[in-house]
């Protein structure tokens, strides 16, 4: 019941504020929405504590039938196990903080605010449905629900063309992944005759040798399902090739970026792979793909993050890169490490975004770091919390990232596989860059000479408590979450914590071997982080002209990174413009000229013919007669052939 309340309280809040907001007013709508979230934020973590330490039994709470067609049965249900409960606790808690923060952040917005809070609560509900799903289809329900809310929130300021474009882009790019996901779910049903997790996992052994023919070759069916589901995950979690929507999604209000595009929704792909871990364990090819894509994204996104000037975009690429780490961990079957990083990342990345929001708030909506600088005296609380978040992100002991990110890198190295080594190298390089761009951000924003216009700097002020409060709570989380939880989640008794909700193949001892690496390997990620920080100080503290010189000297490289490897331009030229052009061509040439040419020509022919021969007939009757004639001919033809 507690669990049920945690999931449905946000829905209630969303419905009250969304449907009645127009009549009850913004304040009441906001109160309803935040209240719903507060209830969820008490119930969610409570349910988690009860499961892990209070002896509450795991189980499934059925809510009713959903789809029933022949042998295809799907039920609405809430799954209560270690993985789901952990996610529910994190999602409801972080979401609550962001709701509270939004009260302050959106206070001066020109739009009616009930809409914003309704979307935010609706999103939380969809995310909770996603993580508590007991079957792939309900997971897909939540998956698409968060996609819808993300679309609505990115386009929240609908009078800005860029926001509308970004919203559509996010939805459509996600749908590319979703297509693979949907086919993957259908293939799962064809293989197992069910889409419920328990039914799938209990029949894994039976279908292990099944094959599926595709492209003239035959693959193990688990590999095909794994790859399809992972393509879905790539869309949602903004992995390489399908990442293009995430940076643009920063058009939404900053709390949205924090909640949806950092802490929760984008991690849904990581969650999906973890949830399906028993199947992925039997699909080594798909897992290798997960690792390669994850490692590549970690590196690729970090390179772009190093040169961006928009404070939110830097953090957005950082998110992309960190998601890459999570997939890398899953690719070498270290699921607990990935989920652990997901949790700590939720805290420190939400923190970074909210702190960035506080900076933007202070600077009267300025987002360009080149126009900031010297802010630390004006907004000290934001400054300190931003440090906490950056330390956690860079993986400095004893902050959260040190425990979770390093665990992933250790696992990649300990896997002793080609993809693991590849991921490790990419991950170490990305770690240097992560620390670099984090401190670049800190130094450009808070130190140096103020570069903003005089007016904005005059007005720069610390945010109200309703905004700094959540920042401080998250900062405490970023500081302590890794330290407090790593023993339970990752330590030698990790199985006691996860209780079978994350499965690693019995022959795979990754969780043990990653603890037994040589000293240099354990130290390397930390060294990489410190190196990145040092470089950032060298570039932006001691020698501020150096980055400018480098940018001029290696201009093509700089432009290549600044323009995000030209992915947008490429996709626009390959997909978007041709689609529109083809649409026009098919319409004007295909439909109007070719297809309609035939009946219009026939009609003209008949009309002309009848006019010439029989003056009294009207064109339409002639056409009728003509059609009848064709019919008679066909009739005769048919009977002749039978004869």
């Amino acid at each position: 019941m507690i669990y049920f309340t945690a999931v449905f309280a946000p829905l209630l809040g969303a419905m009250v504020s969304g449907l009645l907001g127009k009549w009850i007013g913004d304040r009441a709508a906001m109160a309803a929405s935040v209240l719903g979230m507060l209830v969820a934020a008490v119930c969610g973590p409570l349910a988690w504590v009860l499961l892990e330490w209070g002896g509450a039994p795991a189980g499934v709470m059925s809510l009713g039938t959903w789809i029933q067609a022949g042998s295809f049965h799907v039920h609405w249900a809430l799954r209560y196990d270690a993985l789901s409960a952990t996610m529910v606790a994190m999602v409801s808690f972080v979401s609550m903080l962001i709701h509270v923060y939004s009260i302050g952040y959106m206070a001066h917005d020109s739009f009616r605010r009930y809409r914003f809070f309704a979307y935010l609560s609706m999103f939380t509900f969809a995310m909770l449905m996603l993580v508590t799903a007991n079957n792939l289809l309900q997971l897909f329900f939540g998956w698409e629900g968060v996609g819808l809310c993300s679309y609505l929130l990115i386009g929240y300021w609908y009078d800005r063309p860029s926001a509308c474009a970004a919203a559509i882009k996010a939805f459509v790019v996600n749908r590319i992944g979703d297509l693979a996901f949907a086919v993957g779910v259908a293939l799962t049903f064809l293989t197992f005759g069910a889409v419920g997790f328990d039914a799938i996992f209990s029949h894994l052994a039976q279908h292990q040798a099944d094959t599926y023919h595709l492209l003239g070759a035959s693959f193990r069916v688990y590999e095909v399902i794994g790859v399809l589901l992972f393509i879905g995950a790539m869309g949602k979690s903004a992995q390489l090739f399908l990442h293009v929507w995430l940076p643009d999604a920063m058009e939404g209000p900053t709390p949205v970026s924090a909640l949806i595009h950092a802490a929760t929704m984008v991690t849904a792909g990581v969650f999906l792979v973890a949830r399906m871990s028993p199947l992925f364990n039997l699909a080594p090819g798909a897992l290798a793909m997960v690792a390669v894509v994850g490692g590549s994204t970690a590196f690729f996104a970090a390179t772009i993050g190093c040169v961006q000037n928009d404070i939110k975009r830097v953090i957005a690429y950082s998110t992309c890169s960190q998601l890459g780490y999570m997939f890398l961990g899953e690719g070498v079957a270290a699921y607990p490490a990935s989920i652990f990083h997901l949790l700590t990342h939720a805290f420190f990345k939400a923190l970074l975004f909210l702190a960035a929001g506080s900076v933007i708030h202070a600077m009267s909506d300025e987002q360009d770091m080149r126009k900031m600088g010297g802010l630390w005296r004006k907004i000290p609380i934001t400054y300190v919390t931003m440090w906490a978040g950056s330390l956690a992100l860079a993986g400095v002991f004893p902050f959260a990232g040190y425990f979770s990110k390093d665990a992933i890198l250790d696992a990649a190295l300990a896997s002793h596989s080609a993809v693991g080594y590849y991921g490790y190298v990419m991950g170490i390089l990305a770690a240097v860059m992560t620390a670099f761009y984090s401190w670049r951000l800190l130094l450009m924003t808070f130190h140096g000479t103020p570069r903003g216009d005089h007016h904005a700097m005059e007005h720069a002020h610390e945010s109200p408590l309703v905004m700094t409060g959540p920042l401080m709570v998250l900062a405490v989380g970023a500081l302590s979450a890794g330290f407090l939880l790593h023993g339970a989640v990752l330590g030698e008794h990790w199985q006691d914590y996860w209780r079978g909700s994350l499965m690693i193949a019995p022959a795979n001892h990754i969780m043990t071997t990653m603890e037994q690496l040589p000293g240099w390997a354990v130290a390397l990620p930390s060294v990489a982080g410190l190196l990145g920080i040092a470089v950032a100080y060298w570039f932006y503290w001691w020698n501020p002209m150096l980055p400018v010189r480098l940018a001029t000297q290696f201009r093509p490289v700089y432009l290549f990174l600044l323009n995000k490897w030209y992915f947008d331009e490429l996709y626009d030229a390959i997909f978007v413009r041709p689609a529109f052009a083809l649409g026009r061509l098919l319409w004007q040439t295909g439909d109007a000229t070719i297809i309609d040419g035939v009946p219009n020509g026939l009609a003209d022919l008949a009309v002309d013919g009848s006019r010439g021969a029989v003056k009294i007939q009207t064109g339409s009757i002639a056409v009728y007669a003509f059609v009848m004639l064709i019919g008679v001919v066909a009739l005769i033809g048919v009977f002749l052939i039978w004869g």
């Binding site: 789809i67 295809f72 698409e144 679309y151 009078d159 259908a186 064809l190 595709l214 689609a579 297809i595």
Partner: protein, 513 residues
């Protein structure tokens, strides 16, 4: 005599004509006649809807056969009779027709000002024809209703339509008639073979494979135009653009389902071998429709054309589902037909709302309506999401079941057939963005008013249905579960012993692949 205790199907079918009779007796000045005609038509259609709910309540979900049967001798010497009945495949379409008719009448309340009496009569006749078509269990009766639908629809487009209404009306009439003539031939051939036009009997008649092939093509010509399948779809955008709002609603909501219904009623059960043999052709045309229509929709500048092309794309998915001969595929097709009946009807009504206010369908003339019409924007979003198949709305259930069915056939059919998942949001969200989002700059948009109570009454049932069908679809699938299961079993039985095909036919099949 049946579960309802009275001839409910005939009552639903013929009651609208009684309403017509009442409307014709109205006398007085023009305004009085118009007002009375509206009210009489509305009450008639509401009563018909209420009566039709008997089918919902009294339905026996365990009976795969026809229910509420009625039978009267008509031309017994020729094996022709007046026979009515509904099974799982048709019953919900009867309800869809009786639901959409009052909605259409309400939607025409203010927008139709000329010949109101005649308009209402045309709509009530149309209802009779539609319901009769779904209930008919005799091929001759079916054919009469099937063709009869054309006449009121032709008049609605041709008299109350837009500037190019005459061209569109003729195009609509001729395209559909051309196909129908061939169906008449098929009817004659079947009658000649089986000496009856009784549909249940024909369903158990085994036609020789060669004959099946030709019969299938004849039916196909008729139903493919109605669906409409690519490349005989071009009448649809023109008809929609010129038709009045309510005409578009009924056209998209019910008339497009007639083709798909025909496939399920005749082609698949009566001609199993030919259906299986020509399924690759259907799949090819359907996949082309899914991609082609979606791309064309992307390029549209006219709102109604855009929605019309989206209908073509969705119906392409439906035909894929039907020809998978799979329990999930066919149920998905039925569900998507029903869902599309609700959603496309709603989308045309959505367009109608702003057309009534500004008298233009050009997308570029709008922009930023969210600021003036928030409730309208909200409802529009609900239907857009249902149209792109968001889980939790009606659109998803059908599309996903069809994906399963298609995957039974092969991987690429499932993947290509589901491309609408990507293309759908492209054109609908692009439309939504251009109409609803953006800054409200155009001066004539500033005075727009949000939905009136009458308009809310039109949209509320459709929005609730779209969500109800998405969250608890079992209350709809229970109607056809037994029928479809039996149909698929019979199809598999028929296919178990495939007769030899003449070489010429095999060649035709090979070229169609």
């Amino acid at each position: 005599m049946n579960a309802a205790g009275f001839p409910v199907l005939s009552l639903i079918t013929w009651l609208p004509l009684v309403g017509c009779g009442v409307i014709m007796t109205v006398r007085g000045d023009e305004a009085t006649v118009a007002s009375n005609a509206r009210w009489i038509a509305l009450w008639t259609s509401l009563i018909v809807f209420a009566v039709s709910l008997v089918l919902w309540v009294e339905w026996n979900p365990h009976d795969p056969g026809f229910q509420f049967m009625e039978s009267l001798p008509w031309l017994p010497d020729y094996g022709v009779g007046y026979k009515m009945g509904v099974d799982g495949i048709s019953v919900l379409f009867v309800l869809l027709s009786t639901l959409l008719t009052p909605i259409c009448i309400l939607a025409s309340w203010e927008s139709i000002t000329r010949y109101v009496r005649e308009y209402m009569i045309a709509f009530l006749i149309l209802e009779t024809m539609m319901v009769g078509m779904f209930c008919a269990l005799d091929f001759v009766v079916f054919y009469i209703f099937f063709e009869g639908v054309l006449i009121p629809m032709f008049l609605i487009i041709g008299v109350w339509g837009g500037p190019r209404r005459v061209y569109s009306a003729f195009k609509f009439f001729l395209f559909t008639l051309a196909g129908s003539v061939l169906m008449l031939l098929a009817l004659l051939a079947m009658w000649q073979y089986a000496h009856t036009t009784d549909i249940p009997t024909l369903m158990h008649t085994h036609f020789p494979a060669k004959m099946q092939f030709w019969l299938f093509l004849a039916f196909f010509a008729s139903f493919a135009v109605k669906v409409p399948m690519w490349p005989v779809h071009t009448w649809l955008p023109d008809a929609h653009v010129e038709a009045p709002t309510a005409g578009s609603v009924i056209l998209a909501g019910v008339l497009l389902k007639m083709g798909a219904y025909g496939f399920l009623r005749f082609s698949v059960p009566m001609l199993p071998q030919a259906s299986a043999q020509l399924a690759p052709l259907v799949f090819t045309l359907s996949v082309v429709a899914v991609v082609y229509a979606a791309l064309v929709a992307l390029a549209q500048e006219d709102m109604k054309k855009l929605v019309a092309y989206s209908s073509i794309a969705h119906m392409g998915v439906v035909t894929i589902g039907i020809f998978t001969f799979d329990v999930q595929g066919i149920q998905g097709a039925l569900f998507l037909m029903l869902s599309h009946g609700i959603i496309s009807a709603a989308l045309f009504l959505v367009v109608g709302v702003i057309y009534d206010r500004l008298h233009t369908r050009e997308i570029a003339r709008y922009g930023g309506l969210a600021a003036r019409m928030p409730f309208y924007a909200f409802l529009f979003m609900v239907f857009v999401m249902a149209s792109v198949g968001l889980p939790g709305t009606s659109g998803f259930v059908g599309e996903f079941l069809i994906t399963i069915g298609a995957l039974h056939v092969n991987f690429w059919l499932a993947l290509l057939g589901s491309l609408g998942l990507i293309l759908g949001p492209m054109y609908t969200l692009y439309l939504y963005r251009r109409v609803i989002f953006g800054r409200l700059t155009k001066p004539d948009l500033r005075g727009l008013l949000d939905l009136k109570p009458r308009e809310i009454a039109i949209f509320a049932p459709l929005a609730l249905l779209a969500i109800w069908m998405g969250v608890y679809p079992s209350s709809f699938t229970r109607f056809w579960e037994a029928t479809v299961t039996q149909m698929v079993a019979q199809h598999q039985q028929a296919m178990a012993a495939p007769p030899l095909l003449p070489p010429k036919v095999q060649l035709a099949e090979a070229t169609s692949r």
